[in-house]
C-alpha cells in the first residue's frame, strides 16, 4: 500500500525523534496523611547532565520533605520539561524551557488547586565532589490550575526564556508545584515520570552555527570589499569622460640575490601622457576628427537601435550585424 521509501522515511523520522529526544523516567510513591490543611511546595528536579529526575535533597529552598500530615493525592503524574543541556552555560546565554506538561491523576473528592512553576538552579561541589544546591538561576511564575479529584489532567505551562547572567557549568532544571492540602485524608502520591526533553536550546544551535562560521572564516578570511573594488575599477573607466590619458609604468627591477648581487633597477618608474599626442595636433584638425568619430559612433548606435527594433517587429535577426 505504502511505497517502501515512505515507510523508510517514517522509520527514519521516528528514529530521529527518539535519538534527539531522550527521555528519562523516575518513580516515587509515598503515602501521606493530612491532619491540618495547608499549602505545600513540592519540587522535582534533575541535573541537566545526569538525565535523571531526582527528588531534591533536604535542606535549602528546593527541599522536598515528605509531610507527615500531607493530604494531597496524585497518581500517574508526568512531567515534560524541555530544556537544553550538555553545554557549559556562559554569561548571557538564553535558556529556554517550553512545553512543560504535567499529566496527573488526582484522587479524593475535594477540588485541588495546584500551582505550577519551573525554575533553573545551579550546583557547586564541595570538597568531596558532592554537588549541593547553591541557588536558583531563574524561575517562572506560578500558574494555578483548579483540578477535580479523581480525574486525569494534562497541564501545560507555557515556556519562558531564561537569561543566564553568570557563569554556571552545572545547571539543573525542575518543576515546583504548590498544592493545597486538606486535612482528614490519607492518600498515596505516585510520581511516575519526570521526563526531560532537551537539546532544543538556543545555545546548542548557536554553538553549531558559530563553529561553522568560525571554520570558514578561519580557512579563508572573507574580503567582499576586494571584489567590490575590483568591479568598481572596471566600471569607472566606462563612465570616464575626461581626456587625461596618463599611464604610469612601474619600475622594472632585478631582485637582490643574497651574497651575489644587490637589487638592480633596469628602468625607473615611467609616466606616459598619451593625451599629449592630441594636444600637439592642430586644433581644427582635431575638431574635425572628433566630429567624424562622434558621427561614426552615432551611426553605430542608430544601427544597433534599428537592429533591436527590427528584431522586435520581425523576430528575425537583430543586432548591429544584421
Amino acid at each position: 500500500m505504502f511505497k517502501k521509501t515512505v515507510i523508510c522515511a517514517l522509520v527514519a523520522a521516528l528514529l530521529a525523534v527518539f535519538a534527539v529526544v531522550p527521555v528519562s523516567a523516575a518513580s516515587d510513591t509515598w503515602t501521606e496523611t493530612v491532619f491540618n490543611s495547608y499549602e505545600e511546595h513540592l519540587s522535582y528536579w534533575g541535573h541537566l547532565y545526569a538525565l535523571q529526575g531526582q527528588r531534591s535533597p533536604n535542606g535549602g529552598g528546593m527541599e522536598w520533605q515528605l509531610p507527615s500530615d500531607g493530604k494531597w493525592v496524585g497518581n500517574n503524574v508526568e512531567f515534560f520539561v524541555r530544556a537544553k543541556m550538555d553545554v557549559p552555560l556562559k554569561n548571557g546565554d538564553r535558556f529556554i524551557i517550553e512545553d512543560k506538561t504535567i499529566y496527573g491523576w488526582f484522587g479524593g473528592t475535594e477540588n485541588t488547586i495546584i500551582s505550577v512553576r519551573y525554575f533553573l538552579g545551579y550546583h557547586e561541589y564541595n570538597d568531596k565532589g558532592e554537588p549541593y544546591v547553591t541557588g536558583a538561576v531563574a524561575a517562572g511564575k506560578y500558574t494555578t490550575y483548579n483540578v477535580e479529584g479523581g480525574k486525569s489532567y494534562g497541564i501545560t505551562v507555557k515556556g519562558e526564556d531564561f537569561h543566564i547572567t553568570a557563569n554556571y557549568d552545572h545547571v539543573w532544571v525542575g518543576i515546583m508545584f504548590r498544592v493545597s492540602r486538606v486535612a482528614g485524608q490519607t492518600n498515596t502520591f505516585s510520581l511516575n515520570y519526570f521526563n526531560y526533553h532537551y537539546g532544543y536550546g538556543n545555545r546548542i544551535e548557536q554553538d553549531k552555527a558559530d563553529g561553522a562560521v568560525g571554520d570558514v572564516l578561519g580557512a579563508l578570511p572573507a574580503n567582499p570589499d576586494g571584489f567590490k573594488n575590483a568591479f568598481k575599477s572596471f566600471v569607472q573607466p566606462m563612465t570616464y569622460t575626461g581626456t587625461d590619458a596618463k599611464w604610469s609604468l612601474p619600475d622594472i627591477k632585478l631582485p637582490a640575490i643574497s651574497g651575489v648581487m644587490e637589487e638592480v633597477t633596469l628602468t625607473k618608474n615611467l609616466e606616459v601622457d598619451f593625451g599629449g599626442w592630441f594636444q600637439k595636433m592642430p586644433p581644427n584638425v582635431l575638431e574635425v576628427v572628433q566630429i567624424l568619430f562622434t558621427l561614426a559612433l552615432v551611426v553605430f548606435c542608430a544601427k544597433e537601435l534599428y537592429g533591436l527594433i527590427a528584431y522586435v517587429f520581425t523576430m528575425k535577426g537583430g543586432g548591429a550585424n544584421e
Partner: protein, 98 residues
C-alpha cells in the same frame, strides 16, 4: 525529477563545492592577506589602464560623443552579460539535464 529540482540540486552542489574549497586550510600554506593585496594591486593597475585607454578614445570624440560612448559601453557590457548568462544556462541544460 522536474527541471526545477535539478536546477536546485545543481545550485546546491555548486554552493557546496565552493564551500568545500573555501573550507580548505589555505591559511596554513599561503598568506591570504598578501594574495588579496596582490589582487587589489592588479585590479587597480587594470583599472588605471582602462581609464587611460578611455582617455585616449575621449580625445577623439566630442563631449557629446563621450557621453554617448559611456551609454554604449554599458549597453554592450549588459548585452554581453545577458548573452553569456543565456549561453551558460543553455550549456548546463544541454549537457547536464539532457
Amino acid at each position: 525529477m522536474s527541471d526545477a529540482v535539478k536546477w536546485a540540486l545543481l545550485a546546491a552542489t555548486a554552493v557546496a563545492i565552493i564551500g568545500l574549497i573555501c573550507a580548505l586550510p589555505f591559511v596554513q600554506f599561503i598568506n591570504v592577506g598578501e594574495f588579496t593585496s596582490m589582487l587589489n594591486r592588479l585590479a587597480t593597475l587594470c583599472g588605471n589602464a582602462f581609464t587611460s585607454a578611455r582617455g585616449i578614445i575621449n580625445n577623439l570624440l566630442t563631449p557629446f560623443g563621450r557621453t554617448v560612448l559611456s551609454g554604449l559601453l554599458f549597453y554592450l557590457f549588459g548585452k554581453w552579460a545577458i548573452t553569456m548568462g543565456i549561453k551558460v544556462t543553455a550549456w548546463v541544460y544541454h549537457f547536464i539535464f539532457k
